[in-house]
């Protein structure tokens, strides 16, 4: 084997190892990329759950009526009773509305929960703006405590023509474990 050949092999192996390492990194890069992709497209009805939306005041479009449905569920192991005060509302885009969700801790101890919203159809996600929501923060429940939790929202007048029904779904999770072990989860 000539010396030249050996160098060839070494540099080629080096390049291929770097490629493999880079692709391992790419796997992790998919995490933030996915969030960006979801933000842009509203993919899967994902929305910013961390802060209230800043909404410019708009002229309500009284000629248009959209049905908003509220759906609630609890995660498999979450010991809550959780339901919306009303199951649906008829609303006009551009106007503010408020409704409440009722939740009760079914255990005899204090637990912390986090509601995660999802909107269907995904295309409507960015037009449903929430100025106030119990999902922006985690919720602490004393033993057997019940709460009515408010949501204040507006549907943007730019909502695509074909959407006449939007479903806002909340899932309640127990997050004691998550918060204690990872600290910063952006909730």
């Amino acid at each position: 084997m000539s010396g030249e050949h050996t160098t060839d092999t070494k540099s080629l192996v080096g390049k291929l190892v770097i490629l493999a390492a880079a692709m391992f990194g790419f796997g992790f890069l998919m995490v933030p990329l996915y969030d960006i992709f979801c933000d842009i497209t509203g993919f899967g009805g994902k929305i910013d759950t961390t802060r209230p939306a800043v909404v410019e005041s708009q002229l309500p479009d009284l000629s248009r009526t959209v049905t908003i449905e509220f759906v609630t569920s609890v995660n498999e192991y979450a010991p809550w009773e959780f339901r919306p005060a009303v199951t649906s509302m008829e609303i006009h885009p551009g106007e503010f509305y408020e409704t409440t969700f009722y939740a009760r801790n079914l255990t005899p101890r204090r637990i912390v929960g986090q509601a995660v919203p999802s909107i269907a159809p995904g295309a409507a996600a960015r037009y449903l703006q929430k100025t106030e929501c119990f999902c922006f923060t985690s919720q602490q429940f004393e033993a057997d405590e019940a709460k009515d939790m408010p949501v204040r929202f507006i549907v943007d007048t730019d909502l695509p023509e074909y959407v006449d029904r939007i479903t806002l779904a909340y899932t309640f999770f127990v997050i004691d474990q998550v918060v204690s072990s990872s600290g910063t989860t952006g909730i």
Partner: protein, 525 residues
């Protein structure tokens, strides 16, 4: 490299004696043989699991196993067959044949080659050991979707670590193969002159290096979600389980081409050899493989149409998926054109090649059906999907491996295999494989879901047929083992050429191929 240098020094004597020959081996032929034997053993391990599955599905109701164990069998069958059987089988072919086809004395990195292989048995044992742990093996299917995969018991970290090892093994083997192909070709052999099997493996190896680390990343995230409190896939902590599906299928779709491309390569050798014509459109075939490899990176979400994607996403993934039909059709038509007006004879390898062509195309067509978004909502997670991917994997990839095994067995062993038994093996396999998987199309269209141990009574007849086919197919493979053992032990002496003037450098060395070949590179005409 010191490994290469030492290797040159002991060229004059034969292999070491006893277990050292295999454990310490740096010889591409010995390592290739070990890969092939390992794959054959795993074919029966994974096959035994499918026997459990098909026995349970023989009749409606729960007869033999608990649903949870059934799902463990589903998962392990897939992981073993994909990572333990078909990938090592093709790695074995690569080890044996690539140096012989390009006129190289050995693989470029022989010591790494040894390590790549010897990771496999340990990874396999680690994976299988989860069956005996508290909570059993993963029961989430080979896709390992969270949160279900996170509910595996004590076996979870073992299964994940095993996948890491299997990935590491394939990445190292791929690096080795690329370096061998790019650096050790006989003087004068240009890239476009390389045989198709070498071409398919060059591209497969690049695919492996590109996607196995992504799977490793996804698996690492599963591990940290489970043990270190991260929430990549946990909605409560701001993560999203659908993200795992994206990561998995970004690996998973190229993975299916990793499985099938080497089979394409083998078929591209066998069809010309038995048609007594050169391969039609060699260069077009190379571009078609490259095209398939490129497309494989931008179609992954067609595995998850039902997660709720925007319309634009569905259209993009549907159309890019359908584009794959074009390079694939180029290949199928070129193989057919190679046979056109050829002087064809139907020895066992050719039979498997023709069956591959025919049955793989059926699998390709059902793939087009599931690519159609509105139709996919009906097919998704039904037995139709099971039928589709088994048609491309069993009479596709596995028949490709059988085809190559019969084609090169005389070169490996120096003896002709028993042609009569080989043909019987072919016909049993071809009949039973269709009996097993064809009825599953109908079951899926009628609404039978996959990965469920029980079913409604109207599915009983087709399931019974499918189970009979599966048992027949599995038992037929015992004949394959017998043919191999018989061929290793003795039989008619094979000539160097073996077949009727087949193309390729591998036929210029004697049969059986000596322990060291092409110490002086061949002169390319």
């Amino acid at each position: 490299m010191s490994a290469t240098a030492t290797h040159d020094l002991h060229d004059d004597h034969g292999p070491e004696k006893g277990w050292r020959r295999w454990v310490y081996s740096t010889n591409h032929k010995d390592i290739g043989t070990m890969y092939l034997i390992f794959a054959l053993a795993m074919l029966f391990v994974g096959g035994a699991m499918s026997f459990v599955i098909r026995a349970e599905l023989f009749q409606p109701g729960l007869q033999f196993v608990r649903p949870d164990f059934f799902n463990q069998m589903i998962t392990m069958h897939a992981l073993i067959m994909v990572f333990g059987m078909i990938m090592p089988a093709f790695a074995g072919f690569a080890n044996w044949m690539i140096p012989l086809m390009i006129g190289a004395p050995d693989m470029a990195l022989p010591r790494l080659n040894n390590w790549s292989f010897w990771l496999l048995p340990f990874a396999g044992v680690l994976l299988l050991s989860t069956l005996f742990m508290d909570g059993g093996a993963p029961a989430s299917g080979w896709t390992l979707y969270p949160p279900l995969s996170l509910q595996t018991g004590n076996g979870f970290p073992f299964a994940m670590f095993s996948i890491h090892l299997l990935g590491l093994s394939s990445i190292m083997a791929s690096i080795n193969i690329i370096v061998t192909i790019l650096n050790l070709r006989a003087p004068g052999m240009t890239l476009m002159q390389m045989p198709m099997f070498v071409w398919t493996w060059l591209i497969t190896a690049y695919l492996l290096i590109a996607v196995m680390p992504v799977l490793a990343g996804g698996v690492t995230m599963l591990i940290t979600d489970q043990f270190f409190g991260t929430t990549f896939f946990n909605a409560a902590g701001g993560g999203d389980p659908v993200l795992f599906q994206h990561i998995f299928w970004f690996f998973g779709h190229p993975e299916v081409y990793i499985i099938i491309l080497p089979a394409f390569g083998i078929i591209s050798h066998v069809i010309p050899a038995f048609s007594r014509k050169p391969l039609f459109g060699h260069d077009a075939m190379v571009y078609a493989i490259a095209g398939i490899a490129f497309l494989s990176f931008i179609v992954w979400a067609h595995h998850m149409f039902t997660v709720g994607m925007p319309l634009a996403g569905q259209l993009f993934f549907m159309m890019s998926t359908m584009l794959i039909a074009i390079p694939t059709a180029v290949k199928v038509f070129n193989w057919t054109a190679t046979m056109w007006r050829g002087s064809i004879s139907f020895e066992t390898p050719m039979l498997f090649a023709v069956a591959f062509l025919f049955l793989f195309t059926i699998g390709g067509f059902s793939g087009l059906m599931v690519a159609i978004v509105p139709a996919d909502f009906q097919y998704h997670d039904s037995y139709f999907v099971v039928a589709h991917f088994h048609y491309v994997l069993v009479p596709g990839a596995l028949f490709g491996a059988f085809c190559g095994a019969y084609y090169w067995l005389p070169k490996w062993t120096g003896h002709m295999y028993d042609e009569r038994l080989g043909k019987i093996h072919f016909w049993l396999s071809a009949i039973f494989v269709n009996l097993t998987f064809f009825p599953q199309h109908f079951l899926g269209l009628a609404g039978m879901p996959r990965r469920i141990p029980d079913y409604s009574t109207q599915f009983a007849d087709f399931n019974m047929l499918s189970s009979i086919g599966a048992f027949g197919f599995g038992l037929s493979q015992l004949l394959f083992v017998y043919v191999i053992i018989k061929c290793v032990r003795g039989g008619e002496k094979a000539t160097a050429e073996v077949w009727d003037n087949p193309p390729g450098l591998e036929w210029t060395v004697p049969s059986p191929a000596p322990h060291h070949t092409f110490e002086d590179p061949p002169i390319m005409r």
